[in-house]
């Protein structure tokens, strides 16, 4: 028995080394900024850099805006496609998958051509307009993940019957969407949101070519000019991504409809406050 287990164990070990070794090496390197001792000096330098803070908060805000806009676009679309245009679903799925096939560079060049300062809709004339364009681009990039997550979430509940039940009780379409459908696919929207967050935080191409002060271009700049800080930044980016994945696991694993502990705690606190 033991002999037959050695083979798989070796493969798992090799696989783990493949993933873990570079990580360990990067982490080890990020700690060795000061000579002959291990320290968090590189992290201190990174956190002390005002550019880190501005670019990181810029990307966080962009990510949040992307999530809100993406959810507002995807939830009603997925809902309508499932409810009324079931035949169009393959087409919509195909469209949402396009960002995985078309490189972001194509997207951003298209944007720049369409919305440059001499076009009919000069988004790039102002910083605000360009920021908006950036968020639109991020929404497109996150579409495959957002749509899939929300669509799967809607498959788990009987949206047709829930819609009809709400309709028979006198509810309008908007009421149904916000009071019945959205709360029941909240877990799915959240899991899509965390994936979106992870993508937007590290995104380079769109932000760089639209010349926005985002975290991705900052990461690239530091990587090109410094030695230890990029390693620290890579570890920070990893931590953020993993935190997102962890939250995704926590929020997406519960069955639909069950009030999550966080919310019940919130409710309890609210009741206690009264």
């Amino acid at each position: 028995m033991k002999a037959s287990r050695t083979g798989p164990a070796v493969i798992v070990l090799l696989g783990a080394l493949y993933f873990v070794l570079p990580l360990v090496a990067t982490f080890e390197f990020s700690l060795s900024m000061l000579r002959s001792i291990w320290s968090f000096e590189a992290y201190r330098v990174v956190f002390a850099d005002p550019q880190f803070r501005t670019t990181f908060s810029f990307s966080v805000i962009a990510a949040l805006a992307t999530i809100v806009l993406g959810a507002l676009l995807v939830v009603p679309t997925a809902y309508w496609v499932r409810l009324r245009f079931a035949k169009l679903r393959p087409l919509v799925e195909f469209i949402t998958l396009l960002p995985l096939v078309i490189p972001p560079i194509v997207l951003v060049f298209g944007y720049i051509r369409l919305y440059n300062s001499s076009s009919w809709l000069p988004f790039t004339n102002s910083a605000g307009g360009t920021n908006l364009l950036l968020v639109f681009g991020y929404v497109v990039l996150s579409l495959p993940y957002m749509f899939r997550a929300v669509d799967t979430g809607m498959a788990a509940i009987d949206i047709r019957t829930l819609t009809e039940a709400a309709e028979s009780l006198g509810a309008k379409r908007s009421t149904i969407l916000f009071r019945v459908i959205l709360p029941n696919v909240r877990a799915a929207v959240l899991s899509g949101a965390f994936l979106t967050f992870a993508i937007v935080i590290g995104e380079f191409v769109l932000a760089s070519l639209l010349n926005r002060p985002a975290f991705g271009p900052y990461l690239a700049l530091i990587g090109a000019n410094r030695a230890y800080e990029p390693a620290a930044l890579a570890m920070i980016a990893f931590a953020i991504t993993w935190a997102c994945m962890g939250l995704l696991q926590v929020f997406a694993s519960g069955p639909p409809g069950r009030p999550r502990s966080g919310r019940s705690l919130f409710k309890l606190a609210r009741r206690a406050a009264r």
């Binding site: 019957t161 829930l162 039940a165 709400a166 028979s168 009780l169 006198g170 009071r179 409809g257």
Partner: protein
């Protein structure tokens, strides 16, 4: 004047006609069942009353208001679904309150009404629970309370008992009927279960292939089925083949059978006779002047009832007899005499007898 009027309603999906020329008047407070096999159009008709489907032709009037083109959320109807369709993110109380909130009632009004409804369905203590914490029967009762809370004009029940187990189904069916009587609410109940329809309804609409086969009180539907389809679908029916005799009786295996309504066919034509299992007796009596000789193929002891599967002239005839402690059921292979009165047997039209598949005993 009728409260709910359905006038010549038809519905087609492309080439496929699901409901054709359906007309019905329902009085206020009446409980009407749509009964039929799956695919007979009963649910489509219900969904047209609810507004989830638009009729291809005809009109629907509720309380004098033509609602044919009205959106479902403006019809003021209550609907209960087979799959409960409670909102999983809302508590029981919030589910019941949903329609009231949408209607913009005040908070004290809502909470009073919710409490009233929960008491009505016998679950006053479960307001804080979530749907997933309830049993199927409880969920369906909450769904009923939710539908009734905004005081709808018509209550529509789409096979509400089908997903429940037998015992709950029985008790809930009585509860629904009692509640309906108490509130005096006009109710349409869709079911494929004849027992449910027979036990609950003021009137039953038996449907087949999108058409009304018969619309009558349960007693009349069962005892005086107007078509071969109704006779076969409602209750169990056994068929035996016979030949019309010159004296207008029907001869089956040499035994003359007298019908309350003598056959119109000429002497010598083959004819199919239909018999209800509960009309058969093994002992003769004054009015049971008809007799058939049969071999016992099987005897199912069901407690209060003994269901005999008998062979008459090569065909199967079922007979339900009451259990009597003194007489054990006949053994398999035994010869028995079946006695029944002329009123218990009727002739089936030739085409109907051969075309319908629904006469198979359940």
């Amino acid at each position: 004047m009728s409260f709910l009027e359905i006038r010549g309603v038809s519905k087609s999906f492309g080439q496929n006609t699901v409901v054709s020329d359906f007309s019905l008047d329902v009085a206020k407070g009446e409980f009407v069942s749509f009964l039929g096999p799956s695919g007979c159009g009963k649910t489509t008709m219900l969904r047209m009353i609810a507004g989830f489907e638009t009729p291809s032709a005809g009109r629907i009037v509720i309380d004098g208001e033509d609602v044919t083109a009205l959106a479902p959320n403006r019809r003021r109807i209550g609907m209960v679904f087979q799959a409960y369709a409670l909102f999983p993110n809302l508590s029981v109380a919030d589910n019941v309150a949903f329609g009231l909130k949408v209607a913009g009632r005040s908070k004290p009004q809502i909470s009073a009404r919710v409490e009233e409804m929960l008491t009505l369905i016998g679950l006053p203590h479960l307001g804080d629970r979530y749907p997933y914490q309830l049993s199927g029967g409880q969920q369906q009762r909450v769904a009923l309370a939710r539908a009734l809370a905004p005081s709808p004009r018509v209550l529509l029940l789409d096979e509400p008992l089908s997903a429940l187990d037998a015992k709950i189904r029985l008790s809930l069916r009585e509860e629904i009927r009692a509640l309906q009587r108490e509130l005096g609410i006009t109710t349409i109940f869709v079911t494929h279960d004849q027992e449910e329809a027979l036990s609950m309804s003021d009137r039953i609409v038996v449907m087949s292939e999108g058409r009304i086969e018969q619309c009558d009180a349960p007693f009349a539907i069962y005892n005086r089925p107007r078509s071969r389809f109704v006779a076969g679908f409602v209750g169990t029916l056994s068929r035996v083949e016979g030949i019309v005799a010159p004296d207008r009786s029907v001869t089956v295996e040499g035994c003359p059978i007298i019908l309350a309504e003598p056959p119109r066919a000429a002497a010598g034509t083959p004819l199919t006779l239909a018999l209800r299992p509960e009309a058969m007796r093994l002992e003769p009596s004054a009015d049971r002047i008809n007799r058939l000789v049969a071999i016992v193929e099987d005897a199912h002891f069901l407690g209060s009832v003994v269901r005999l599967k008998l062979n008459v002239a090569g065909g199967t005839v079922l007979a339900d007899t009451f259990n009597r402690p003194t007489t054990p059921p006949p053994a398999r292979g035994a010869w028995v005499d079946l006695h029944f009165s002329p009123a218990d047997v009727f002739a089936l039209e030739a085409d109907e007898a051969t075309s319908s598949k629904t006469a198979e005993p359940a």
